[in-house]
């Protein structure tokens, strides 16, 4: 889908400015309504009973006492959610994850749910449900799960005819890595581990469901994709898609974690059974135990290089811990691992492994940060071995337009080299480092995606514009869409109000994931605006009584072309809108599009740290993010994505991790011991936006949301390793791990 690229260099009036966001006032006054902020007449409170075991057979569930408790209106188990998935395994996995059937697969797996008149009654009811479990052996570590005698999580998954926890093994690359090694002067091999982390959105999952006996339903929910939630919930509950209206609330953070359903089918099932609205809100503990964190990993990297820095062979194998149900995480990692580089012989292997942990969901550039940690750490080892500057080593092998990527396609115009040059020339690189301080840098890649999108643009009689988009606004998209509409129509930003429509008001929109929101809804908004302009021109032609071919649209006005129309002054959008009732009725523009041609995005980060050698504590002194945005629609929110992603990466690199006990139970399901960075942990995060246009978008937009979570693990690893003089190979690089590494080196 090639577009007229003259737009990328045009003088934008609105695009690129820093206008106030349309949802700003609501969000600073407490008026914005999130998942838990909805109330319905007669609403019940829903709560979930969860497995206290890592792995168990469910022999029997007795709900009779709970049902008899006054104030309890519905109790459900798997029996209330019959399997309607018709052999679709992924859908069945979703169903089983939402509500355990004959087995509990992880600590926190839902086994029953109740709806009652208030929270205390619901809590009491949960206690009255008697579940007979038969405990099974469990496994929570990715390497342990791959051993031949490991407890099996999903018996239907087999390797070589035998049940196995290895769900999938995928290879990407080209050339011959073994041949490449023969050309190498140095070969570095190193193994790494990363622990499981959570997206850590501050808003727990929450919804308000209402299902009527006539088969219609309403679901108010915090989600990244209300259309996807609708489709999945309708399938699981046997409802008609069109009869389930899903409204996305304001979303209090998602980062991939709100792309899948968790409690929503349960709320709908409870509501259907009780014939009352049911509100469900996860506790923080439930969020950690039973939503979808990202994978822990273990990996081996091998790089062969010549003394001049040319990489002759690049190999990585990474085992991804998917939780109790298989995903595509190994595949995604395998595709991203070497994407920054131009390599003759390259191979990456991604392995998906099952464990007794919650079903993994996407987390911002899913799977990429882990392999980047392995690749970018090992590159620094290569640079040290051959005595080359780490940036120069990367530049020597950098991917460019025309490079065959490690995952297959040949790149068009891309920005990795530009980000590396920008890092090389950045003032932070010249700052002097003191004792116990270190500097590291690393690169990262993310694909970005497009997908199904539609937008409605309605022009009011006063000429103001109501824009309805179907992609959930997770970080300022309503501002960007209003800016794009204003730019196209040639009207002030203030004249456009953008909204997120519910599933009844628009056609299907894919979920806001894969950094697709601004790219795809932006594309649809451009087309919808151009569609409306065509109507505006027709109306102007009517008002002037001239053929529409003689009307053009410039700067928010219709102009009559040709000397014979010199007497016709231009008609503004407002003037045309005012006459719309008598020139054909309301004026609108629509667009439904499959937004293909998403542009890949690259980032390079620099990090300076100081490590206390006596306690192993790391302080981030300075941090810079350089990223290619293609075109920054609203630079504040592009910077915000870069800073937020870097901060999540910093947390992952230093302190965040899921800690399971020998009993297979999660030890730290709360913000006290799952340590996301606090304000005093971080410095200002410097940003530099580069704009290398995506040729497949009229403005050159690439996605920007995810890429910058990819480099931090490695950038910090490289910085810490330099500061302490020993290579850190286990993320998070928590104080005990750093001290241990120092001890091992001393010994």
């Amino acid at each position: 889908m090639k577009h007229d690229q003259s737009y990328t260099d045009q003088d934008f009036k609105v695009i690129g400015s820093r206008v106030p966001r349309p949802d700003g006032v609501d969000k600073v006054t407490g008026r914005a309504r999130y998942g838990a902020d909805a109330y319905a007449p007669g609403q019940l409170t829903g709560l979930v009973l969860r497995s206290p075991h890592a792995h168990a057979r469910i022999k029997k569930i007795d709900i009779s006492k709970a049902e008899k408790l006054p104030g309890v209106k519905a109790v459900i188990t798997a029996a209330d959610l019959p399997d309607l998935t018709e052999g679709r395994r992924d859908l069945f996995d979703t169903l089983e994850n939402c509500m355990a059937r004959d087995r509990a697969l992880y600590d926190g797996h839902a086994v029953a749910a109740v709806a009652a008149i208030d929270r205390n009654t619901a809590k009491q009811a949960l206690k009255l449900i008697k579940v007979s479990y038969e405990k099974q052996p469990h496994v929570t570590d990715v390497d342990e799960a791959m051993k031949p005698d490991a407890p099996i999580v999903q018996p239907h998954i087999q390797q070589d005819g035998k049940p196995s926890n290895i769900a999938q093994r995928m290879e990407f690359g080209h050339g011959d890595v073994d041949e490449g090694l023969k050309e190498a002067d140095v070969v570095i091999e190193k193994s790494y581990k990363t622990e499981q982390t959570h997206q850590g959105y501050i808003e727990p999952h929450a919804c308000l469901a209402s299902v009527s006996p006539d088969g219609t339903g309403d679901l108010w929910v915090t989600t990244q994709g209300h259309f996807q939630y609708r489709n999945v919930c309708a399938s699981l509950l046997g409802m008609d898609v069109a009869k389930l209206k899903v409204t996305s609330s304001e979303i209090g953070g998602g980062f991939g974690g709100k792309t899948h359903v968790w409690i929503e089918p349960l709320a709908l099932a409870l509501s259907r059974k009780a014939n009352r609205p049911v509100k469900m809100v996860m506790s923080r503990e439930e969020v950690f135990k039973a939503s979808g964190p990202t994978c822990s990993t273990s990996m081996d990297v091998r790089i062969g290089a010549r003394k001049d820095g040319t990489i002759t062979s690049a190999f990585i194998e990474c085992r991804y811990m998917d939780g109790a149900f298989p995903g595509i995480w190994g595949m995604l990692g395998g595709m991203t691992a070497w994407a920054c580089y131009d390599l003759k012989n390259v191979k990456s292997v991604g392995v998906d492994v099952l464990c007794n942990r919650p079903k993994v969901a996407a987390y911002r550039a899913p799977s990429a940060p882990m392999m980047a940690f392995g690749v970018e750490s090992t590159l620094d080892l290569v640079a040290a071995e051959i005595g080359m500057d780490p940036i120069d080593l990367r530049l020597k092998n950098v991917a460019r337009e025309g490079t065959r990527s490690s995952y297959g396609p040949t790149y068009g115009p891309i920005g990795i080299e530009a980000t590396l040059q920008a890092v090389k020339n950045h003032p932070q690189m010249k700052k002097k480092l003191g004792k116990n301080q270190g500097r590291g840098m690393a690169c990262g890649f993310w694909f970005n995606i497009g997908g199904q999108t539609c937008v409605d643009l309605n022009i009011g009689v006063d000429g103001t514009v109501s824009l309805t988009q179907g992609t959930v606004d997770v970080g300022g998209a309503r501002a960007s869409m209003a800016m794009i509409a204003a730019e196209e129509l040639g009207i002030p930003y203030e004249d456009v109000k953008s909204n997120v429509g519910d599933t009844a008001s628009l056609g299907h929109n894919d979920t806001t994931e894969g950094s697709r929101g601004t790219f795809s809804s932006g594309l649809a908004t451009i087309f919808a605006a151009r569609d409306a302009i065509q109507v505006l021109k027709e109306r102007a032609a009517k008002m002037w009584d001239i053929p529409v071919e003689q009307v053009t649209w410039e700067n928010g006005e219709a102009r009559a072309v040709g000397a014979e129309h010199n007497n016709l002054p231009p008609l503004s959008l407002k003037e045309i809108a005012a006459k719309s009732p008598t020139t054909g009725g309301p004026i609108a523009g629509h667009n439904e599009v499959t937004a293909d041609g998403a542009g890949v995005s690259f980032a390079s980060h620099i990090c300076d740290v100081e490590v206390d050698p006596e306690t192993g504590r790391t302080e981030i002194l300075r941090y810079t993010v350089v990223q290619d945005a293609g075109k920054a629609i609203h630079p504040d929110y592009v910077e915000g994505q870069m800073q937020g992603a870097a901060a999540q990466g910093i947390g992952w690199a230093l302190n965040e991790e899921y800690i399971y006990g020998k009993d297979g139970l999660l030890q730290n399901p709360g913000f006290l011991d799952y340590r996301i960075p606090v304000c005093s942990d971080l410095p200002f995060i410097d940003t530099k936006i580069l704009e290398i246009p995506n040729p497949n978008h009229p403005y050159g937009i690439r996605g920007v949301g995810e890429t910058s979570i990819v480099p931090p693990l490695a950038a910090i690893g490289n910085a810490v390793s330099q500061a302490v003089g020993v290579r850190l190979d286990h993320v998070p690089m928590s104080p005990p791990r750093i001290l241990k590494a120092l001890d091992e080196q001393a010994a």
């Binding site: 306690t615 504590r617 011991d673 340590r675 960075p677 606090v678 928590s734 104080p735 005990p736």
Partner: protein, 284 residues
């Protein structure tokens, strides 16, 4: 659950004594209400002591300070005389949680929650703080280190509560300091902590008390560590000896927050650093 907010200590004690089920004293609530939310406690009675005037006071007495059990961390930090006299105790209490937590949390709550990692407790022990314990039939004054008997366990009887903490008047040329280690700069529970209180005489440590947190089932007073610096000018050898004594006194566990190895090592590191701060504050 019943909620009561008596106006006197006597009434509070009577309520506790009369309750047949589980009764909890509510001061700042920053531990208790979190545990309530997590369904870890199911009280039949909660006795809110914040409406008892005596419990909200910081009094300067002839022998030192008397700090009411419901005085919040923020209030403690705003009392200039107390900050000057016992900087270590105040900074330890002020390290508990965020500004939000400081608005509510209390030293006594921190003590009675009986976590081995409680920040204010090692500092109180090092400072020689005492707890004023009131029961239905008697009052007693107990050294703080005698209150906690194990994780979540105290020596208080069912009908007893702590009305106040007393701190002595600091001796001339003396000071205290407290340090804890947490992976983040804020909001964490101590992985390991150390408090040092010392008195100087002509630049030499005349007396000292060293206490450690999060390295044993309860906060521990380490006389051997104090002995290692008494009579010294806190030279490197003395500090190393003190660190070694601290590490030797550790009996920690491996848990989600830290390893045995780590806690044992860093206890000594923190004690050294705290001792240096106290030494400097004392005018050494």
């Amino acid at each position: 659950m019943r909620y009561e907010s008596p106006a006197t200590t006597k009434e509070a004690v009577a309520l506790l004594a009369a309750e047949k089920g589980s009764a909890h004293v509510l001061a700042g609530g920053t531990d208790l209400l979190a545990r309530l939310r997590l369904d870890m406690v199911e009280p039949d009675l909660m006795v809110d002591i914040k409406r008892i005037p005596a419990m909200k006071e910081i009094k300067k007495t002839a022998t030192g300070f008397k700090i009411g059990a419901a005085v919040s961390g923020a209030e403690l930090g705003e009392n200039k005389a107390l900050v000057k006299a016992w900087p270590g105790v105040v900074e330890a209490t002020n390290l508990i949680g965020s500004d939000q937590i400081q608005g509510r949390c209390t030293m006594v709550g921190n003590l009675c929650n009986a976590s081995p990692a409680a920040d204010s407790v090692p500092a109180m022990i090092a400072a020689g703080a005492k707890a004023v314990v009131v029961g239905k039939n008697k009052r007693r004054t107990v050294p703080v280190e005698k209150i906690v008997t194990g994780p979540g366990q105290t020596s208080l009887a069912r009908d007893e509560l702590i009305e106040a903490i007393t701190l002595p008047k600091p001796a001339a040329k003396s000071a205290d300091a407290y340090l804890r280690f947490t992976p983040r700069t804020e909001m964490d529970i101590a992985i390991v902590s150390a408090a040092v209180c010392l008195t100087l005489s002509r630049g030499v440590v005349k007396s000292a008390r060293v206490a450690l947190g999060a390295v044993a089932p309860t906060a521990v007073l380490v006389p051997a560590a104090a002995k290692a610096i008494i009579g010294t000018k806190l030279d490197d050898d003395a500090l190393e000896a003190m660190a070694a004594a601290c590490s030797a006194a550790c009996n920690p566990i491996d848990d989600k927050r830290g390893t045995i190895e780590y806690r044992t090592r860093v206890a000594g590191v923190l004690a050294k650093r705290a001792a240096k701060i106290a030494f400097e504050r004392a005018g050494g």
